[in-house]
C-alpha cells in the first residue's frame, strides 16, 4: 500500500496535512485530514477569573475572534444571570454579522475564487490571487472593499478590528454614535452591489464545475444550526435544530445549554481536531454538517428581501430538499454575505439599537454557563464552570470547524477516489483534494483550540512508510 501525503494543506487557516492511502491496485482506499497543531485553550483557562474569558478565548483566533467573544460573553451572561439590554444585543449582533461578512468575503474573493476563475486544472502559477489581480482586478478590489467594510464595523463598534473589546458580559461596552451609524449606512448600497455581483459571477460559472459539485463531499448527512421558532435564519439567538438529508427535522428547539445531551466528541489518534457527532446516532454515524450550507438548509427564510430571493433559488437546487453538495457551501456563503449586509442595515435602523443603555451588570449567580452562536463556519459552543467566586474550574469549547470534521474527512475521501490516479498524480487532482476542505472554510487554529509557514509538499509513502516520491507544489 502507498500513501500520498499533502502537507501542509494550502489556502486555509492553520496547519493540516492529508494522507491518501492506496491499495495494492493503486486505487484510493482511504483519505484523512490530520490537524497537526495543538493549542490547549480549554486547559490553560482554568484558574483564571470568569471576566477574563472573552479576552482570553478571543485569542483562539485572529480570524474569527468576534465569534469567540460573542459565545464567551453569552456564557458569562448565564453565569451572571443577566439579560443584556436590547441595544447591547443588537450591537453584538451587528458586530457578529460584520465578522461573518468579512470572513466569508476573504474565503470567496481571496482563497477560493482563483479556482472558479481559472479552473481546478489550471497551472498552479495561474491559480492564485496574484493572477486574479492581473486578469480580474475589479473583482480583487471588490473583495478588498467588502472585507474592509466588515472590518471597519468591527473596529468602530468593537474597538479593534482583531480581538475587539466592545462586546462585554451583560451587553456592549459603548453605545453606537449617530455618526458611526451614518457612515456604515452610507456604504450599504455599494456593498450590496458588490455582493450581488459576486453571487452572479458564481452562479454564471457553476456549469463548469459539475464534476466537483458531484464529488466534493456530496453525500447525505445531518445538518445542525441555530434557528428561530419560525425557522428564520439566525446567527446569535435561537435554539439548536438537527435536520436529516431528506429535510426531516429530527430534533428541534434544543436549548444550547443542553448541547451535551445531543453532541458527543470523539477523539482520533491521528489528529488534534476532535470529531463531534450527533449522540443519538452514535459515532461516526452521527456525522453532521454546520456552517452556511447547514444554516440555509435549515432556515425556511432569511428574513431579508434580497437574500430571500436568492434562498428560493438555492433551495430549488435539490427540489426543496436539503442541498447535500458541499461545493454549494460557496453558494450559501455568498447568499449569507448579502443577508449580513441587509441585516446590518435593518439593525442599525432599529430604534432600539441607538438607545443609551447597552449593558447590564450583575455578579456571579450560577456556577455554569453555556454560550452559543453561529460563527462564519458554523455553530460555536463555550461552556464554563466557575467557583462561587468566579474562578474558572472547567472549560469546554466546540468550534465550528470541529463540528464539520467527520464530513470533511468523508469529503476528502470522496474527492480522492474520484480524482486521484496513483499512476498519474496530477496537480489538478491534488488541488481538488485541498479544495474540498476549502469548501468548509476551516479555521484550524480555532478548532484545535497557529499560523505558520505555508509550503506545498506531497509525499508518497509506501506501506513501510518509506518515502518513494516527493512532489514540491510551491
Amino acid at each position: 500500500m502507498k500513501t500520498i501525503v499533502i502537507d501542509p494543506v494550502t489556502r486555509i487557516e492553520g496547519h493540516a496535512k492529508i494522507t491518501i492511502s492506496l491499495n495494492e491496485d493503486g486505487k484510493v482506499d482511504d483519505a484523512k485530514i490530520h490537524v497537526t497543531q495543538y493549542r490547549g485553550f480549554e486547559k490553560f483557562c482554568e484558574g483564571r477569573m470568569y471576566s477574563e474569558m472573552p479576552a482570553l478565548t478571543a485569542r483562539t483566533c485572529g480570524i474569527c475572534p468576534v465569534s469567540h467573544v460573542i459565545a464567551s460573553t453569552k456564557a458569562i451572561d448565564e453565569i451572571l444571570a443577566v439579560t443584556p439590554p436590547q441595544a447591547g444585543v443588537n450591537i453584538r449582533k451587528i458586530i457578529n454579522l460584520a465578522q461573518i461578512l468579512q470572513s466569508h468575503t476573504l474565503n470567496f474573493f481571496h482563497l477560493s475564487s482563483p479556482d472558479f476563475i481559472y479552473g481546478f486544472d489550471a497551472p498552479k502559477e495561474d491559480r492564485n490571487i496574484f493572477k486574479m489581480m492581473q486578469t480580474h482586478p475589479q473583482m480583487a478590489r471588490d473583495g478588498i472593499n467588502l472585507r474592509a467594510f466588515g472590518q471597519k464595523i468591527i473596529e468602530e463598534l468593537g474597538g479593534k478590528r482583531i480581538h475587539p473589546t466592545g462586546v462585554v458580559p451583560g451587553g456592549a461596552a459603548h453605545k453606537i454614535e449617530l455618526s458611526q451609524k451614518e457612515i456604515i449606512l452610507a456604504q450599504i448600497p455599494d456593498m450590496l452591489k458588490i455582493a450581488q455581483g459576486a453571487l452572479e459571477f458564481f452562479k454564471t460559472n457553476l456549469h463548469k464545475f459539475q464534476k466537483e459539485i458531484d464529488s466534493f463531499a456530496a453525500f447525505p448527512s445531518l445538518f445542525m444550526a441555530l434557528t428561530n421558532k419560525d425557522k428564520t435564519l439566525e446567527h446569535y439567538d435561537g435554539t439548536l435544530c438537527f435536520m436529516d438529508s431528506d429535510g426531516n427535522i429530527i430534533k428541534d428547539a434544543i436549548e444550547p445549554r443542553d448541547y451535551k445531551e445531543f453532541i458527543g466528541e470523539a477523539v482520533e489518534e491521528d489528529s488534534y481536531l476532535k470529531s463531534p457527532y450527533y449522540k443519538p446516532l452514535g459515532y461516526p454515524q452521527g456525522m453532521y454538517r454546520v456552517g452556511p450550507l447547514a444554516r440555509l438548509n435549515i432556515a425556511s427564510t432569511c428574513g431579508t428581501p434580497l437574500a430571500d430571493e436568492e434562498l428560493k433559488k438555492f433551495k430549488a437546487l435539490n427540489g426543496g430538499k436539503p442541498v447535500l453538495n458541499s461545493f454549494y457551501y460557496h453558494y450559501a456563503r455568498l447568499i449569507e454575505i448579502i443577508y449580513t449586509i441587509e441585516k446590518i442595515e435593518e439593525l442599525l435602523n432599529d430604534e432600539e439599537t441607538m438607545r443609551e443603555n447597552v449593558k447590564a451588570t450583575s455578579s456571579v449567580s450560577k456556577t455554569k454557563g453555556v454560550g452559543c452562536s453561529e460563527a462564519p463556519r458554523g455553530t460555536l459552543f463555550h461552556e464554563y464552570h466557575v467557583t462561587k467566586d468566579g474562578v474558572i474550574t472547567g472549560v469546554n469549547l466546540i468550534i465550528a470547524t470541529g463540528n464539520n470534521n467527520l464530513a470533511m474527512n468523508a469529503g476528502v475521501k470522496q474527492v480522492a477516489q474520484a480524482f486521484v490516479d496513483s499512476k498519474n498524480i496530477t496537480d489538478g487532482a491534488l488541488n481538488r483534494v485541498e479544495a474540498v476542505i476549502r469548501c468548509f472554510d476551516p479555521c484550524l487554529s480555532c478548532s484545535t483550540h497557529a499560523l505558520g509557514i505555508v509550503s506545498s509538499k506531497i509525499e508518497i509513502v509506501d506501506h513501510n512508510k518509506k518515502i518513494v516520491k516527493v512532489i514540491d507544489r510551491s
Binding site: E13, G62, F130, P137, A140, L451, I453
Partner: protein, 139 residues
C-alpha cells in the same frame, strides 16, 4: 506621505517589535507620516496605504543565529504565500496591480528566536530606539 506599518502580537513578547516601535514613534508627532499598528497584515490594509509615497514595514523575523540583529528581510518574504494574512510584498503588489500605486518600500526586521517573550529587555529597547531614531531623523 510616508506610512509606517508596525505589526505583531503584543501578547507574544518580541513578536510585538513592530507594534512597540509604532508606540514610540507616536511620541514624535512626525510630519507627513502616518503610523499604523496592526496585529497582522490583511488585504484591506492596502486602502490605508493609497496615499503613501513610501512605506516602511516593521516586524520581528525568525532567525536562530542573529538574535537582535536589525536587517531587511526581503529575501525571506514570499508574495505567493496566502492564508488569512499576507506578506508586505503582497501588499505592495496589490498597490501596484490594483491601484497603480508604486511607493518605495522597506522592511525593517528585528531578528529574533524568542517570539513568545522578551529575552533581554535592554537590548530589545535599544533596537526599538535605533529604528525609531532612524525613522524620525530621516524626515
Amino acid at each position: 506621505m510616508r506610512v509606517v506599518v508596525g505589526y505583531g502580537n503584543e501578547l507574544r513578547g518580541e513578536d510585538a517589535f513592530g507594534v512597540d516601535v509604532i508606540k514610540e514613534l507616536e511620541k514624535f508627532h512626525l510630519k507627513n507620516t502616518k503610523l499604523i499598528s496592526a496585529f497582522q497584515l490583511t488585504p484591506e490594509i492596502v486602502l490605508e496605504l493609497l496615499e503613501a509615497d513610501e512605506i516602511i514595514f516593521i516586524d520581528a523575523c525568525n532567525n536562530e543565529k542573529n538574535h537582535y540583529a536589525l536587517a531587511c528581510s526581503l529575501s525571506v518574504q514570499s508574495r505567493f504565500n496566502l492564508s488569512h494574512h499576507i506578506s508586505p510584498k503582497t501588499i505592495v503588489y496589490m498597490l501596484e496591480s490594483l491601484y497603480e500605486k508604486h511607493p518605495n518600500f522597506f522592511i525593517y526586521s528585528m531578528m529574533t528566536k524568542s517570539f513568545d517573550n522578551i529575552k533581554n529587555e535592554n537590548i530589545y529597547k535599544m533596537r526599538i530606539e535605533q529604528i525609531v531614531h532612524h525613522i524620525s531623523s530621516a524626515q
